[in-house]
Amino acid sequence: MGLYKRLTISQKQIVWAWGLLALPILFYVVVRFYPTANAIALSFQEWNLLGSRSWIGFENYTKLFSDPVFWKVFANTFIYLLLGTPTSLVVAFLIAYHLDKLRFMHGTIRALYFLPFMTTAVAMAWVWRWFYQPVPIGVFNNFLATLGIAQIPFLNSTTYALPSVLAPAIWAGLGFQVIIFMAGLRAIPQTYYEAARIDGITTWETLTEITLPLLKPTIVFLVVFSSIGFLRIFDQVFNMTTNDPGGPLNSTKPLVLMIYDTAFNSFDMGYAAAQTVVLFSVLLVVSLVQLRIMRDN
């Protein structure tokens, strides 16, 4: 204590800072950094949880890249992204743009769009799964039947299953994007719009020349954020295809489900770790490319 009292104010700050940070740093090292290193190391090893870990170099990766299932899964993961991100962003923007101009029942309508964001993905996956059932069970097909339109085998067809699984994910995230878009719209100074009105610019021009360019930071954030979400889709797929996870015929299987299967059903830990490293690389590359493209424009 006597030693502490003799320290200068800035020295005391250093002592306090490191003292307060000690436990959190320990946490980040043990729960984040060490596991990351461990996952990368494991991806160069073979291990089935029981025997010993043996180094096998790049074998997991060569095995993965020559596995047709991996390429199917890889393509699926990107289809989730390429369908999910543009669809949800365009729809969310349209809603936000118009809702922003609406005063009557503004709060109530905003709440209606936001409510799905508060739900549990697992629970809603089951609700949507029920919707997708054939007649006489499923809501959608019953509706089609009353209109006299042919049935759609949503979850049982290799073409429709992936979009069907994606729909609840888009639905649940939409409210968040609407809220963020509206905050972005609010942040645009009214003076720009007044100037545009005086100059006699059309509504469409105002949208493309003022609103969208000034909304760019919001758009960049939402594109990156939602892309990461769609690339990591799991809860919906797992729960909507429990009888044949990732099916039919792997048509809905994303990378995270493949990782889960390899690690916790086949116990091929090294092979699964290699897949997680691929997932990490994909997320990193996609985020960086998106940031680069959108900063350039």
């Binding site: 729960v31 309508i109 709440a111 993905a121 968040f176 916790f264």
Partner: protein, 292 residues
């Protein structure tokens, strides 16, 4: 121009203006109608879930929204099964403890990184921030190995430990502590408060909205978390609500009214919380989304 002319001119202008106004209010009505219809469509899955959970099995295939004979039988059945009560408790305990931990530690770390000058500050900040890029899915295998080595599988601690602190929360809190003037802290220091007291009694109350935003995100994230609890739990007693719901629904197979009841039980709490704290939650989401 006579007075009569000018009057005529004025009334013409007024009628022109009111025509434009009428057109605008028509457009506004169409806008309202479309947005309202869309909003109703958005909550339909939730409404259908609730309505079906109140139906007898024979009525499930009728798509009527209001059950002809509403019944709580499904809830009685699901709750008498007993497991849901345990899963609910597990989820509540885990989400609450994790939220408290995040509020405490993320704000402490954010505060130190924001308000203290010390060698290594930048490196610590970048190191913590860099963990944002590592997806959970990359860490679940090492976490599993760690948990099995230390006997954490199938325990509350095992489910909770990966989420006790987050880089997202730390970054969010650091951003908000920037708005707290250093003079306040200096004044408290002169008053003889120690550093922990300054953080807790001076700085923390000033960032209360940010704490609320963080708490909402962390709680919701842990309440709905699926993949890690699925991996780390083995026995049904330790399942969280989402994992339990998966198991329950697979067992129930085609008894959709029971599945909808289980889904409703895991969704209703967050919906109620949202309806009560709507304004704060939306503000919090915006804050966390834009600053985080």
């Amino acid at each position: 121009m006579t007075a009569a002319d000018s009057l005529d001119h004025n009334s013409q202008m007024t009628s022109l203006r009111s025509a434009a106004k009428r057109k605008r209010s028509q457009a506004q009505f169409i806008r309202w109608l479309l947005l309202f219809t869309g909003g109703i469509a958005m909550v339909m899955p939730i409404i259908y879930m609730l309505s079906t959970s109140l139906k007898y099995p024979f009525e499930v295939y009728n798509l009527n929204l209001i059950p002809e004979e509403p019944t709580l039988d499904n809830y009685r059945y699901v709750l008498e099964d007993g497991r849901f009560f345990g899963w609910f408790t597990n989820s509540l305990v885990i989400a609450t403890v994790t939220t408290l931990c995040n509020v405490l530690f993320d704000s402490l770390v954010g505060y130190v990184l924001c308000k203290y000058t010390f060698p290594g500050r930048y490196i610590v900040f970048i190191a913590i921030l860099s963990t944002l890029m590592i997806p959970t899915e990359m860490l679940v295998i090492p976490w599993y190995l760690m948990s099995s080595a230390f006997g954490w599988l199938d325990t509350y601690w095992g489910i909770m430990f990966p989420g006790l602190m987050t880089a997202f929360g730390t970054f969010l809190m650091k951003q908000f502590f920037e708005t707290v003037p250093d003079d306040f802290l200096e004044a408290a220091r002169i008053d003889g408060l120690n550093e922990l007291q300054i953080w807790w009694t001076v700085a923390m109350p000033l960032v209360r909205p940010a704490l609320a935003a963080l708490a909402i995100f962390v709680f919701l994230g842990n309440w709905t978390a699926f993949i890690w609890p699925l991996i780390v739990t083995n026995s049904q007693e330790m399942y969280t609500l989402p994992v339990g719901l998966t198991t329950f629904s697979v067992e129930a197979q085609v008894e959709w009214e029971l599945i909808m009841t289980g889904a409703a039980i895991s969704t209703i709490p967050t919906l109620i919380v949202f309806l009560i704290f709507q304004r704060y939650i939306i503000r919090g989401v915006v804050m966390a989304g834009l600053k985080g």
